[in-house]
Symmetry: none
Subunit: 210 residues, 4 copies
DNA sequence: ACTTAAACGAGACGGTACGTCGCGTCTTTTC
DNA sequence: GAAAAGACGCGACGTACCGTCTCGTTTAAGT
């Protein structure tokens, strides 16, 4: 009779877990990441500090969980619209993103996550995968469809990962360093530039050196 | 014309100032920004804490000063090479930048500055102007020269600020979120994409809405 | 009248009980009372904390039980030797006691019990009765025999309880406050002083007031 | 000119020191030693915890200082009265002591100090010297005077330290273990017994062994 | 050279938060 | 239904730094 085949279930309190994530979410928006403390989270959540330390290794890890939607399993992938008009589709999504940047709640969250990555780089892969991942994959999927439709160039030299970064990188860079407004015009320009760069036959001639 | 005749000149100790900036610089590289404390700076510099608080409003302000080269007056602008081959010039500079990203000291500094901006957004303009500014202006200047040489498109719809962000934004984005390697191939691709986007007549046809 | 016929027998685990008392005993000797914790007892005993709280009201109560010999019912009273030579008998027992004070295990236990009494005075009667009681009664019984043999004074003014305290009080006082060595000479002196005080006709002349 | 001959004075805040000692004193009386915490002391004193840890190694050390009168330099020795009537003098002082034992404040202090010694035996010498010392020396001095007056026995076998313990040991023992009331009668009995033991020629005949 | 006022090093101060330990209660599962 | 296991809310621990505040002690200007 093989008895102890039970891996000692951790019997975690769902109530406490949700209270902690909610408190964290609210506190980041209210006070900002710089003022976020474990003690404040615990107090707001009506929870002992130890309960936080028991389940998360750091403040940043709590925050990442707090910023993810609840049912974020791996099957829940998002899709960009595909009307056949790539430029319009991208501009539609990026304009919505631009609007989000104007939302204090959104930028507070992004600020917090970015700061956390910089202070604790070991969290970067987790953020990249769980937070950015779905979005990046959605963009890439849409570009792939466009590629197959012949709207943008094909070939080994057309790296769609870079193409996605061409759309989002400037946006984040401008936001982070406050280099200019994140307007609809701005994101339209980004889309226009990016699609021009991806136009079939666009990058064929270019000098280089080692 | 003997103007501001300085009635109460602040007899500031140059020795202390340099010791503080050097200590800050060293500590960021050794321990990282997250472990940087005013007390550690003061101790390392052999300086009283008050001397730091007397001359800088915050830890971030000290850090910005610590990371700027000493003779960084406003007249010292840098220039990109101009061999006539825009792609080669850009790739040369960006490959050097890519190499810098591989340097722990460089990335530690960049990490620290970026974190500081996120935690204290009021410092962003200062960093944008004094740290990034010269670089951004140099890129823009080179693109402007290329524009005048007819290598890249002209016109109101060609925003060179955005063009510069197209080169640097993806680079920082990829670095910050650890999305992939910062290789010479990568920056070459960025230059190729960007120049393709900027090629005369590239962005003329594109749908849009709203 | 068949009284307490135990209708709801508390299915108490003897194994757990002994493990708890043993663990407590061992931990006090190893780490000292100051480091004794319920969690440590439970862990060492391989027992849930609740099992301790179920059967004892406090840490001190566990300790008292842990320090009593197992078959310490009320019928087990001890006796001092009675060779007819009171001084020799007392010195014999007290010298053995003095030797015990030199034993780290003994003094650790005494230290723990005394501390417990001071921190939780409600336990004092229990300790006085169950721990000290048998010893005190044995001394008093021996003195009573000596009194009846005419070796020490009789009368209402000869309080044998005080006489016993005269023997043991100084010993504990000296030990607790580390006022001097607990040697055979010392306890001999105590016995000599005490017997001198108790000698028939000793305390008849003495002034007093109020 | 030898400059640095100054031993870098610690610049300690007298205000904080007094506030800490007063708060400790008050808290012991109000809540008892078992509930005394560094945090409560700091809060009551309006002081940072670090200020306590900076100047005292432990809670017990603070307490000892808190319980000593302020001007407790080594020259401030106390004397027992000396009317020529030793028994009356001793009874007078011990009756006052008995009254103190009835005072909740006094017994709370004594309880706290005793507990501290038991939990941290390394403090025992300090307590013995600074707290008990003056009292013990005063008793011994009075007995010495009586000895020289011929009231009590002289000789090498008359250890006045033990004599003092004969007076105080039983008192503390009875108090600690709650063995009986600390009445005037009780202390009178102690004095009578002790003086009977010390009477010239009292301890000459007594058997012994080993 | 002498005076004098600031800046300086040192570090104590009242605080806040850290991450850990143990409390006594509770909940779940096993025997 | 007691027992093991251990999560829970809570309170205190002792430490690290914060930013402010004295302390003497340089130190450089302006007599």
């Amino acid at each position: 009779m093989p008895s102890d085949n039970v891996p000692s279930r951790p019997r975690r309190s769902e109530r406490a877990r949700r209270a902690i994530l909610d408190a964290t979410y609210d506190l980041v928006l209210e006070k900002g990441y710089a003022k976020l403390t474990i003690e404040a989270i615990a107090a707001r959540a009506g929870v002992g500090k130890q309960t936080i330390y028991r389940w998360w290794p750091s403040k940043g890890a709590v925050m990442i969980d707090a910023f993810l939607p609840e049912g974020a399993g791996e099957e829940t992938e998002v899709d960009l619209p595909d009307t056949g008009d790539l430029a319009a589709d991208l501009k539609g999504v990026l304009r919505a993103t631009a609007d989000e940047f104007a939302d204090p709640a959104f930028s507070a969250r992004l600020r917090a996550l970015s700061a956390e990555i910089l202070l604790a780089p070991e969290l970067a892969p987790d953020v990249a995968e769980r937070v950015l991942g779905p979005g990046l994959r959605a963009y890439k999927k849409r570009l792939l469809a466009a590629q197959q439709a012949g709207v943008i160039a094909q070939g080994d030299d057309v790296d769609l990962d870079v193409a996605v970064e061409l759309l989002l990188g400037p946006l984040h860079y401008r936001w982070l360093h406050d280099l200019g407004g994140i307007t609809h015009d701005y994101v339209d320009t980004l889309v226009d530039f990016t699609l021009a760069a991806l136009r079939p036959g666009a990058t064929t001639t270019s000098s280089s050196s080692s």
